[in-house]
């Protein structure tokens, strides 16, 4: 089949003052596209042709090409990761498009994700959120036996559902507020459903929200676009978990220099 592509080309990295730089949509025609090709393999074919013509290939992030590393991700016809639900860009196949289709391809767009080149963006803001507290503070050593603490299957399953997040950033790209609350909610929800994660639940909720605000991500206004775009079907209930945990942490926050009296309630 044949497709017409309109791809965002930007040669210089975004700066605070000039996000788009020389960026513009460029039109390409591509023939002999097979149904069995993945979307990224289609871009590979385009790039091979561009190189042969002496034009610089399109820069895009990708690595595992099996939907798990979270490296890839472009906005296809206005939807992060394209039209198929529960699917990363690398797992999107050309059979999802009709012969003669016109396809618009853009990078994730969010103030916290500056463009590096073409379709490649800088998502280190998500790493910095994790560094603020999305972990259990346990050193390598000799923890107790893995089976010493039973975890109800339902809790373990809920933790897993949240932990399945691949950190691709599609939730941010889908949100009109560029909010990262599905991502942050997934971290909070993962740990709060496990006994190991509950020890630090309050500091975690406070620190992650502070980090996400500092990075310039917006707030959630309940549009659920993030859930629709998420390639791993992370449910918006993780945002409810985040809100509940944050509220709990705030309510229980002790003013400085106050001595705690009595038990933990």
């Amino acid at each position: 089949m044949k497709v017409t592509l309109h791809i965002w080309r930007q040669s210089k990295p975004s700066t605070k003052d000039d996000f788009a730089q020389d960026g513009k949509m460029v039109r390409y025609e591509l023939d002999h596209v097979s149904n069995d090709m993945s979307f990224l393999e289609m871009l590979d074919v385009l790039n091979e042709q561009l190189i042969k013509k002496g034009e610089e290939p399109v820069t895009f992030d990708h690595d595992c090409r099996e939907g798990i590393c979270g490296t890839c991700g472009v906005v296809v016809n206005g939807e992060p990761h394209g039209p198929e639900s529960g699917t990363t860009t690398c797992q999107l196949h050309m059979r999802s498009f009709k012969d003669g289709a016109e396809i618009w391809v853009e990078p994730w767009r969010a103030a916290a994700f500056p463009v590096i080149k073409d379709l490649m963006v800088d998502r280190t803001a998500l790493d910095r959120i994790v560094q603020a507290g999305a972990f259990v503070s346990v050193n390598t050593g000799a923890p107790q036996d893995a089976n010493a603490l039973p975890v109800p299957k339902a809790d373990a399953d809920k933790a897993f559902d949240a932990a399945a997040c691949i950190g691709c950033g599609a939730c941010v790209a889908a949100c009109k507020n560029a909010s990262s609350m599905l991502f942050v909610g997934a971290k909070v929800s993962h740990f709060v459903h496990l006994p190991q994660g509950r020890v630090e639940r309050e500091t975690r909720a406070r620190n992650l929200v502070a980090a996400m605000d500092k990075e310039g991500f917006g707030n959630c206004t309940n549009q659920y676009e993030c859930e629709a775009a998420c390639p791993k079907d992370i449910p918006v209930r993780v945002i409810a978990d985040l809100n509940r945990e944050y509220l709990r942490a705030k309510v229980r926050e002790e003013p400085a220099n106050t001595k705690r009296i009595g038990g933990d309630g």
Partner: protein
């Protein structure tokens, strides 16, 4: 090249304890004076970087991905082995040790394998403490399943995303240290050379993949955890970025490369669909717990699978290996698939495929139970092939997956270059000629969490902290070489693209050094690879600039190394005149097509020393002694 494996004295059960006691310690106040450079952030790299920082060392960690969380360990599906014996089914550290030595076809070092089995139990404890959400049963205890080459259930798993969850565990431990300021993380940064001063590894030269700048980093020791070299075949289950560059360039600086010909072809991958194919996707070995592998008994049978009656199907693994059945080890299962395809009984348009059928398991357990176990894998299969594996069997075929060979290391995981340590898939140490399923995650984490934190201290205790700085002239010399290579690649401006050359190399490797190898094919490959390499350096076209983001340039540098390394792999395959594990020489097989080892001549690790080019590389041997698991013909019948 001197090969001293430094295997500790004493019975195999006591070697690690003995070694830990022998190793010198660095006092807590002095640890912060030493800097360790960790290259790679997969299971081995992330766990090492985090653990070393927790001990108090200064750590710098590097990865070419945009985040350390994306290293390809993340794609491991099925599980991680540990000798916990939670199932009460007769497992023990000794049995895991035994299975791994036998599974590796008696080509691994016993002492290392025993330590790996011993540490396996700590890994599960550590991961659970980090909040890794392993599968659990209704009583809240950890669940297990079976994997190939074992008759006990010792594999812990997190649905079909075990690698992801374990890597996120290690990544969050690393993230915690980054947040605390004890690890400096450099993502989108690729190591391009090792700097050796007075015979010791004292730093690395990297390229910043965003700005294109070449930079020097000095340290007191260098740890490579950069994964395997499966992408020398172009098509493999590896991520697109996986490469041999770090280990190959270390090899060219003096690190011995061991057993490059030991490559693992995984039996259950989605077959190739066309020339555009950029990578192959694995379907986890865990599927063979419930899926049955079969082809038609008739040659050229074009009927749809549902139309082939039960008595006309050949469940060839169950037939040939009744005691292990569909859970025969990977090398054996792959070869069996190749044999039925060579026999004209392969399925699909190309005849290069076999069925993996869940019909019986779905009838026995119900569709929901199968979906709970393998839902994400079935989903992935359906996405790629547009076929529904619940209603028709999966089509699968072997594909390059893992590489057992790697840089030679001693018992302390140090290479032949003092101060240069190698962990995880990048080293050669524990899997012999064939790795058992669910053992890669185990090895990566054992190396990073529980081996290197002890052994690196033993080395550093004898070194003066911070003795070499990045302004040492050797750094300038090495960085100059890196920049020169970049400029050279950009200056050729030939006609063929990097991918075009990579596909050509992959074709040579797969056809002449793939699932079955013979002298004639290998000799042809040894003529064709240097010719292709010469053409590459004459006719490759790399566009874009040096000092900017340039993905073509990154790929070109990696391919330049594969074009040299592929030749060494074929030389090693030619020189190993026996069949063992993943290395199958057609000249050495039994009457029924099983691998035939030659223990008299080849019970050793082959370690290559670089001498200016691959043609002149010298082959050394580390003899392997089997004092506990006695050399025997490996049988799964």
């Amino acid at each position: 090249m001197k090969l001293d494996a430094k295997i500790p004295a004493g019975p195999v059960q006591e070697k690690w304890s003995n070694r830990k006691f022998e190793l010198k310690l660095v006092n807590p106040a002095n640890k912060r004076k030493y800097k360790v450079l960790v290259v790679g952030s997969g299971l081995a790299g992330a766990s090492a970087a985090a653990s070393l920082a927790e001990l108090g060392y200064q750590v710098e960690c590097f990865c070419f991905q945009d985040s350390p969380r994306r290293a390809h360990s993340i794609a491991a599906q099925g599980g991680i082995n540990a000798a916990k014996n939670y199932r009460n089914d007769g497992d023990s550290i000794y049995r895991l040790f035994y299975d791994t030595v036998k599974g590796g076809d008696f080509r691994a070092r016993e002492a290392n394998v025993y330590r790996l089995a011993e540490l396996s139990v700590n890994i599960i404890d550590q991961a659970v403490a980090q909040g890794v959400p392993f599968a659990r049963d209704y009583g809240g205890m950890l669940d297990n399943r079976s994997f190939g080459g074992a008759q006990v259930s010792r594999t812990f798993y997190a649905r079909g995303q075990t690698g992801q969850q374990l890597l996120l565990g290690a990544y969050t431990a690393l993230a915690r240290q980054i947040g605390l300021g004890t690890v400096k993380m450099f993502s989108r940064t690729e190591m391009l050379d090792v700097v050796i001063v007075d015979g010791h590894a004292k730093g690395i030269v990297v390229r910043d993949l965003v700005t294109g700048e070449a930079r020097s980093h000095a340290g007191d020791a260098v740890v490579l955890a950069t994964g395997g070299y499966g992408n020398v075949f172009y098509l493999s289950t590896n991520a697109k970025g996986c490469n041999v560059t770090a280990t190959w360039r270390a090899h060219k600086r003096g690190a011995g490369f061991a057993n490059p010909c030991y490559t693992q072809i995984h039996p259950t991958c989605i077959p190739v669909s066309g020339d555009h194919q950029s990578k192959l996707t694995l379907m986890s070995e865990s599927l063979r717990n419930d899926g049955r592998v079969w082809v038609s008994k008739k040659q050229g049978d074009k009927r749809r699978p549902g139309e082939i009656p039960e008595d006309e199907r050949d469940y060839y693994l169950e037939r040939k290996y009744p005691s292990y059945g569909n859970l025969a080890p990977r090398d054996i299962s792959s070869r069996a698939a190749k044999q039925v395809c060579d026999d004209g009984r392969g399925i699909g348009d190309t005849g290069l495929g076999v069925y993996l059928d869940f019909r019986d398991a779905i009838a026995r357990l119900g569709k929901d139970a199968i979906a709970a176990r393998y839902g994400n894998l079935f989903h992935m299969y359906a996405k790629i092939t547009a076929e529904d594996p619940y209603s028709q069997p999966m089509r699968i075929f072997p594909a390059v997956h893992y590489t057992m060979g790697g840089l030679w290391v001693d018992y302390d995981l140090m290479s032949t270059v003092p101060g240069l340590f190698v962990l995880g898939e990048a080293n050669f140490s524990d899997h012999g000629a064939n790795r058992l399923g669910a053992s890669a995650l185990m090895q990566g984490l054992a190396d990073g969490y529980f081996v290197i934190p002890y052994t690196i201290g033993g080395y550093l205790a004898g070194q003066k902290a911070g003795s070499v700085k990045a302004d040492h002239p050797e750094f300038q010399r090495v960085a100059g070489g890196v920049v020169e290579m970049t400029k050279r690649l950009l200056s050729i401006q030939g006609k063929r693209t990097v991918d075009d050359f990579h596909k050509a190399l992959g074709k040579i490797m797969w056809q002449k050094c793939g699932m079955a190898r013979n002298e004639q094919g290998l000799k042809e490959a040894l003529r064709e690879i240097p010719a292709l390499r010469e053409e590459f350096w004459r006719d490759v076209r790399v566009l874009g600039g040096e000092l900017s983001t340039n993905q073509s340039l990154e790929k070109a540098g990696r391919l330049a190394d594969f074009l040299e390394f592929g030749e060494l792999l074929c030389r090693d395959a030619l020189e190993r005149r026996e069949s063992c594990g993943g290395h199958f020489r057609e000249e050495w097989q039994t009457a029924d097509g099983e691998a035939l080892r030659d223990d008299e001549k080849f019970c050793h690790a082959a370690v290559w020393e670089y001498k200016g080019d691959v043609k002149n590389a010298v082959r050394h041997q580390e003899a392997l002694a089997f004092e506990n698991v006695h050399l025997a013909v490996r049988s799964y019948k």
